[in-house]
């Protein structure tokens, strides 16, 4: 073969679907989008009085997008982390600590909103760095390390709420984070805009930059990635820092919107967000995933309680069904991937 090109047989190429439609329908996102639309359709069928009332359905949709945007902001970091082969169960607590520390710095220490945001992000980065170092350098599994951090941070949140837990509504940064705006006559929470901007920016980073390529490679096969000179530990540490900072940012956005926050806020967010990421097509074992899928997964996770509430289901049933859906999604993911 030295003077010829190898042909068929063992070197035959398996080609991906080529048309745009076939490419879309072959992707996980298509199924998730259909699932989301089906849930939306349930509202139309079971509660036509609400679905066909512009005021009511726009209220439902506003709440849906506002809730989903919080999941999306944290889900961006969680996607990076899961794609690189780790996960973080402390994001719900980081969310609460972020929001409450933001309030404490502004109320008790009289710092400006901007300075408080910077300090909270630095605190979150330190938490993420701690998680990352414990997991990658000490070798503690991320499940154990971040459950420990979950408890530590929740304790911090409880301690903070003994002081102050509200933010001044007249601060410009608070307005920027938690305000509302009108777009084409539709009221949109600023946090939705933040979520969209962050998805675009981090989507480009994940799909188009060297760092993004390395995130996928490390999650796919860490040994292989390291053999090409990629510092896998550093990739993971950066992702732990990223998810902690985004969780803190989401906490600051949340307290800015509501004006106050409880120490218990954000409990179970870690599971909801991991579910959104996995439902959106990210491989729980790393190496595969997309932010677009995660956004759709977040919308599914956010619409489930809306559908249940509108149909008069109790909170207990909501919790139960949400749990069943999460387990089913992860089990199906594992079955379909053959892992």
């Amino acid at each position: 073969m030295s003077e010829e090109t190898a042909t068929a047989g063992d070197f035959a190429i398996s080609r991906e679907p080529t048309t745009l439609l076939r490419r879309f329908t072959s992707r996980r996102e298509a199924g998730v989008l259909l699932g989301f639309l089906a849930l939306y359709a349930i509202i139309a069928v079971t509660r036509p009085d609400i679905f066909f009332s512009w005021q009511d359905i726009s209220g439902v949709t506003f709440r849906l997008f506002r809730t989903a945007s919080i999941y999306v902001i944290i889900g961006i970091g969680m996607s990076f982390l899961i794609i690189s082969g780790e996960f973080d169960l402390s994001v719900g607590s980081m969310f609460a600590v972020g929001g409450l520390t933001f309030a404490m710095l502004m109320q008790d220490y009289r710092l400006t909103g901007l300075v408080s945001v910077v300090l909270v992000l630095m605190l979150a980065a330190a938490v993420g760095l701690t998680n990352g170092v414990i997991v990658t350098k000490v070798g503690v599994p991320s499940l154990i390390a971040t459950i420990g951090m979950l408890s530590v941070l929740r304790g911090v949140a409880l301690a903070i709420t003994e002081g102050s837990w509200g933010v001044p509504q007249n601060d410009a940064v608070v307005g920027l984070l938690g305000g509302r705006m009108e777009i084409l006559g539709v009221t949109v929470a600023h946090q939705v805009v933040w979520a969209v901007l962050l998805v675009v920016v981090f989507g480009v980073i994940l799909q188009k930059t060297r760092f993004g390529y390395h995130v996928f490679a490390v999650g796919d096969d860490q040994d292989a990635a390291e053999k090409t000179g990629i510092d896998a530990d550093m990739v993971k540490i950066r992702n732990f820092v990223l998810v902690a900072m985004l969780a803190a940012l989401a906490g600051m956005i949340n307290i800015s919107y509501y004006g106050s926050m409880f120490a218990s806020t954000g409990q179970t967010y870690e599971l909801l967000i991991i579910a959104a990421v996995v439902i959106g097509g990210t491989n729980l074992f790393g190496g595969e995933g997309s932010l677009s899928g995660m956004v759709l997964g977040a919308l599914v996770i956010a619409i489930i309680p809306q559908v249940l509430v509108l149909n008069g289901m109790s909170v207990d049933i909501q919790e139960l069904l949400t749990g069943v859906i999460i387990i089913a999604a992860v089990v199906l993911d594992i079955v379909f991937r053959g892992r």
């Binding site: 073969m1 030295s2 010829e4 090109t5 190898a6 042909t7 047989g9 063992d10 070197f11 035959a12 190429i13 398996s14 080609r15 991906e16 480009v204 980073i205 188009k208 930059t209 060297r210 760092f211 390529y213 390395h214 996928f216 490679a217 796919d220 096969d221 040994d223 292989a224 990635a225 053999k227 090409t228 000179g229 990629i230 491989n283 190496g287 595969e288």
Partner: protein, 267 residues
């Protein structure tokens, strides 16, 4: 083929606590030859080549590249010095594209600010990947996911990745062990082609027939020790098996002589 050694070792040893994996091995490969390294499981083949490509540091002994003593801290050091490696497990990220795997860890970036922000020049990466794959005459779509490729094609991608750095020496660890018959034939054709381009190949294998068919010389290891270096043209399967089992070439001569004497006495 020149007989000048491009790479050699002097008394190379590696201990792992109580295990002496490689013992005082003097290895060499000449410019442009295919030097096979054979041995049974635990013979020290992989440990030897991992010391040559910077994965492991020797406990004792030295490595010389073009006559100069070298020490490698990691794979990248060896790569920069002109030693490429194709690992037995291929070290590929299977869910990623062929092009991404070929340039993994070394992705080309766009010019200007975009490049400084780390944006990968995907068009250039695909074009360059095609060019490298064309060098080894293997038709693989640079956009295809590696997991969609056959074993032979995946091996080709791993070879192409090593070739992007224009290595003078290519170390290949069991490149055909997991391939179909056709895959083996195609990969061995690629190896031959690389030799014709002047690249020195160090081929680790346990397949004696394959080694006899392609190698110029054969280094045989047994339990970490160098048992002998054979010219492939003069060696046969029995010579190699005997050395792999710990016997020497002299033992074989003695056995043949004894067998001849017995035949003579019974005649």
């Amino acid at each position: 083929m020149s007989s000048k050694p491009i790479i050699r070792t002097d008394g190379l040893s590696k201990r792992f606590e109580t295990v002496h994996a490689v013992k005082d091995v003097d290895f060499s490969a000449a410019e442009g030859e295919i030097m096979a390294v054979v041995g049974d499981n635990g013979a020290g083949k992989s440990t030897l080549i991992e010391m040559l490509c910077g994965v492991l540091k020797p406990t004792d002994g030295d490595v010389f590249l073009r006559g100069e003593r070298v020490e490698f801290d990691d794979y990248n050091d060896a790569q920069e010095a002109g030693i490429g490696t194709v690992y037995q497990d291929l070290a590929l990220a299977e869910s990623q594209s062929v092009a991404a795997n070929i340039f993994l860890g070394n992705e080309p970036t766009k010019a200007g600010l975009a490049g400084r922000l780390g944006l990968v020049d995907e068009r250039e990466m695909a074009t360059e990947a095609s060019a490298i794959l064309e060098q080894v005459k293997i038709p693989v779509d640079p956009h295809a996911a590696v997991r969609s490729l056959s074993g032979g094609q995946q091996q080709a991608v791993a070879i192409a990745r090593a070739l992007q750095f224009d290595p003078e020496i290519l170390i290949m660890d069991e490149p055909t062990s997991a391939l179909s018959i056709e895959g083996v034939r195609n990969v061995l054709n690629v190896v031959n082609d690389l030799r014709e381009r002047g690249i020195t190949i160090v081929l680790i294998s346990h397949n004696i027939e394959e080694v006899l068919g392609i190698a110029d010389r054969i280094t045989v290891l047994h339990q970490g020790e160098l048992m002998g270096v054979l010219d492939a043209d003069d060696a046969d399967r029995e010579d190699i098996v005997l050395l792999m089992m710990g016997g020497s070439e002299d033992d074989q001569v003695e056995e043949i002589t004894e067998a001849g004497a017995e035949e003579g006495s019974t005649a």
